[in-house]
Symmetry: C2
């Protein structure tokens, strides 16, 4: 398998999962904003010029949520996914999808308006609106995490998707002061050797 | 099962899937913007006050992508999902996640800036940027659809998630003139009796 990767992107999720599963992979390391991500040979792999992309034999797949589900179904041997008949299975799906559906759209706006756009084109109104929504979404995660160690029973793919989104939110300055369950959750995830390896790539 | 539903929302996806599978369900019909969606009894079911929400025995689940996967795993009997060992399985996951990860964030911005915000707070720059990105995302779907009838082999849950996003994009005025594969795809989906039933709810 080959993982097209850049630090501080959703590709960290995939490296994290590969490390959790102990799977062998080759890393193609790029840097966000790098010309290599827009070069013809990478656009042939991923026409959107984004990371992550995973190539596994004949399969090329690039949405991080899809890659997590793909790796667990094909190579997970039942690990990191609750059994279908349990209630945790529904929670697993809910939070796995919540990450991209509810949290990351706000993160994207904040990144665009504070990093990617040139200063003269940035719009403070957009940042404030996104931060307010982000706060609301994180509140939902916080409420769910009351009395739990992980989002869906034991550590699972949902923690990789949604936990990563929570970690990124904190890094971008989201207010966690009223969310008592999130700082310990972030600490719990950050203590995992597989995430530490993925962050050091 | 009970589906909390509003017309012209992501809840159409779930009604569509329930109809495709021939499953029995009760419909709790609301209207977008309706006070019922912010009423305490609904917030007890879904604290975000959004639709869809599906209640199935002890399970309450609300992200549309999560509900699609949940229903197929719990009640699908193998229908509408490619087998894990096929290449279509990776495509299934890719496009199922692409819908919310890449298309719907642009749709959300367009809806907020043209419908939900009062006119004096709308920002044309945001609409233009979202429409440009939407066009790019639809281009990726169009390229994939060349020579195909559906996104991942036979009709699947990916068509419900991503096909619905394509249908909504067209309704919002996305430019499909250079995307030769999308209008026939939309027609193919719109001809399905299950989608027609869901749209008539």
């Amino acid at each position: 398998m080959k993982l097209y990767f850049a630090p501080n992107t959703r590709a960290v999720r995939i490296a994290w999962l590969l490390e959790e599963l102990g799977l062998d992979y080759d890393l193609e390391r790029m840097t966000l904003g790098d010309k290599a991500m827009r070069a013809p040979d990478y656009l042939a792999v991923n026409p959107m010029g984004r990371v992550p992309t995973l190539v596994d034999g004949e399969v090329t797949i690039s949405e991080s949520g899809a890659i997590v589900e793909y790796l667990l179904a094909r190579h997970g041997k039942g690990r990191l996914v609750p059994a279908v008949e349990t209630q945790d299975f529904a929670a697993y799906l809910q939070w796995l999808h919540f990450a991209e559906g509810m949290i990351m759209p706000q993160i994207n706006v904040i990144m665009v308006e504070t990093v990617f756009l040139p200063p003269e084109r940035r719009n403070e109104v957009n940042v404030k609106r996104a931060m307010k929504l982000l706060n609301q979404m994180l509140g939902a995660v916080d409420a769910h995490m009351a009395g739990r160690e992980f989002l869906a029973g034991d550590f699972s793919g949902a923690d990789i998707m949604c936990g990563h989104a929570v970690i990124v939110s904190e890094r971008l300055g989201a207010d966690l002061s009223d969310k008592v369950n999130l700082p310990p959750y972030i600490a719990r995830l950050s203590g995992r050797p597989a995430l530490q390896k993925a962050r050091a790539l």
